[in-house]
Assembly symmetry: C2
Homo-oligomer: 202 residues x 2
Amino acid sequence: MFDLPKNLKKISLFLEQLPGIGEKTANRLALYMLRLPENVLLEFSQAIANLKSKTKLCRRCFNLTENDYCQICSDSSRDQTTIIVIEQVYDILSFEKGRIYHGLYHVLHGRIDPLNHIGPEDIKIAELLNRIKKESQIKEIILATNPNLEGEATAMFIKEKIEKNYPSIKISRIGYGLPIGASIEYADYMTLKKSLEGRMKY
Amino acid sequence: MFDLPKNLKKISLFLEQLPGIGEKTANRLALYMLRLPENVLLEFSQAIANLKSKTKLCRRCFNLTENDYCQICSDSSRDQTTIIVIEQVYDILSFEKGRIYHGLYHVLHGRIDPLNHIGPEDIKIAELLNRIKKESQIKEIILATNPNLEGEATAMFIKEKIEKNYPSIKISRIGYGLPIGASIEYADYMTLKKSLEGRMKY
């Protein structure tokens, strides 16, 4: 059976292993790349080759960085007393997009997930506790793990650890409820239950 | 505002210019690549760097190849008397997937599209006529440009050229009608009209 030429096929097969990209899309993207200017392709090739060696974890919050400390930790104008604890680097981009928060982060790089054999020691929880110990200016930890079984378990575990070791630190959990733009008609009852529990004076 | 580290961002920006990939998907894919093994990334980087230099057009049918002639033209077991004329390389993959056809192809690399200033001389029509002249064994040309305005205009133009210069060659156009699995309820009337015109004895 006919297939794409070898080098093009290699590119297509690489793209196919990325999440959400099937064989057809991979072929289409590879063929599209063929039309891009040589210098654009070479620059991309170089960036891919450097990806692992250039990208490191921030020594303080485990965000991605090319230096010792990430852009956020290096920014002394940010509020040093608050830390949002998140599961993955991507979540930082979501918070930062809205410019709604000016404190620091701590990336867990995962969540407690016993079914997949991921325990508390496999994610950056010890590092968080260590950080709280070292950084005496920290006043509040906002737990922003995802609102699902594993995220809740992770938040609960961290909450108990901090409460036990650092009782003066304020611990909060991001609010639950209806997302903006949603309609009650289509909301699931768990979300509605949470939105009632989390109701605020109006 | 916080953004991904420079090298990672470069990758994300490259991906974002590909069709169907937005900023969020590009970020997600770039972050996913970070988790792939170093050797996989290096091999991909190499393939990207080689893409333009390695990939050429087949000297006979203008399919993609790494040699002088493509895999299909090099396969002497294929029927050398029939040529399917298509707009783009991708269309070969569609025909070949089903193993429904064993003849040759001719890739136009475009279609006549006056609104976008693409005339007959901008696509491989002269090359097709030249090929028919040189390859005396050719008996049938199947026009498989897309069933839209530009594709029809292109097919019509080629048909007239061949009829005039090589009257003995059989020219056909791919059939129109309802795609398999479709329902008449949702079919547009142009397709239904074509499916009536193209009805076959049963």
